[in-house]
């Protein structure tokens, strides 16, 4: 706390006593509020997307320190540019992805020779690069959607997909019946399917 008081640039964004928008407010409405300099809306948008932005930056920059700087710049760009978002031109998630990606690419270009963790992003109309760009966007949307899952469902998904545990091991680790783990997994996938409806073609 003393650190934050002594260094005002790292203070949390004040919300000016404004009423926070409800947690279920769509991204597009949050962007409209951010365009009007609503800091509470910005705070909500930040928490929805910070993991996606940091994940994208890590994939591109391959360095945690530079990725953290890129997150800073990406959200600064979102704050500055929110008024330019036009809902009729596409969904908000895509716009946020583009703004964040551009900020990260700027960091990539200005910070000298980077350590590359991912093959550089390339023109979207070429087969290989397009697939890589798609993979980045898929990760963006998945990591964003995971934030919406109830904690107990998110937990089983993360353990099942990224811990290397079998379902039986997940059940043992969480002290749950195997059937409960399967039910939660199925429920989580169904919920993600709903959240990602626009992506599933």
């Amino acid at each position: 706390m003393e650190l934050a008081l002594a260094m005002p640039h790292l203070r949390a964004v004040p919300t000016d006593g404004a009423t926070a928008p409800p947690p279920e407010t769509p991204d597009a409405e949050l962007l409209a509020l951010v365009a009007e300099r609503d800091r509470a809306a910005f705070d909500l948008l930040y928490h929805r997307y910070v993991r996606s932005v940091f994940g994208l930056a890590l994939r591109r920059l391959g360095d945690r320190g530079r990725a953290e700087d890129a997150v800073q710049e990406a959200f600064a760009a979102i704050w500055r540019s929110a008024a330019s978002y036009k809902p009729e031109r596409g969904n908000a998630a895509g716009w946020l992805y583009t703004v964040a990606r551009n900020a990260i690419v700027d960091r990539f270009r200005t910070a000298g020779a980077p350590v590359i963790a991912e093959v550089p992003d390339l023109a979207a109309d070429e087969p290989g690069p397009a697939e890589r760009a798609e993979a980045s966007f898929v990760a963006w949307r998945i990591h964003r959607a995971l934030e919406e899952l109830p904690r107990r469902e998110r937990e089983v998904v993360e353990l099942a997909y990224w811990s290397g545990m079998s379902q039986s091991e997940v059940a043992e680790y969480l002290h749950l019946p195997l059937g409960t783990v399967k039910t939660r997994t199925r429920s989580a996938l169904a919920r993600l399917s709903g959240l990602l409806e626009g992506e599933l073609g």
């Binding site: 790292l10 949390a12 964004v13 391959g62 320190g65 953290e68 350590v115 697939e131 898929v138 993360e158």
Partner: protein, 208 residues
Amino acid sequence: MTHGPDFDELLGGEPLGPEREQLRRVHEMLLTAGPPPELPPHLEAGPNLAMTTVRRRRQVRRRVALLAAAAVAVAVVFLGGYITGNRGPGKTISAVRTIQLQGTAAAPDALASLRVQPEDESGNWPMTLDVTGLPALPDRGYYAVYLVRNGKPWASCGWFLVSGPHAGTTVTLNAPYGLRSGDTWIVTRVVAGKTKGAGETVMRPANA
């Protein structure tokens, strides 16, 4: 190589029809996405004032970078034990190590040495890979280095190209993740448009 859980084992026989295909698509997206990153405490805490300050961006950016580094250092000192004890299965590692990799049947002459450097203040683990014996790949092909956790490719640590099997190649890579005891690395071959997931494993630890 298995790149994640098996969909049919995960869900069993239900549901059927279009709903099952929808869930399978989500399953594939989860495999493509990989794990979400662990956020440093200062990003977890919320947005900061500098993000909403338009003027004097350069100065602000520089100060924020310095302060962020200071905040990370403080957080590492005070929260290191907490984080270490709350990362779920597995424990973190701290020692520098060198891993010898050898070619699989896909690249039987390949040999490599992967040196993992000490963790830096931002949580990166810089690495140096010295490799020989890998053949050059066709256009849009590259070799990828994957962190392997619990026996499965977990996250990318970089990529490289080689000019041919007789040319030694040295590349600098990075693992910007919290490493754990038991983590290791493989080299895979990726051909754009033909490869799904991590790609075919062409090198694995010599003692595996």
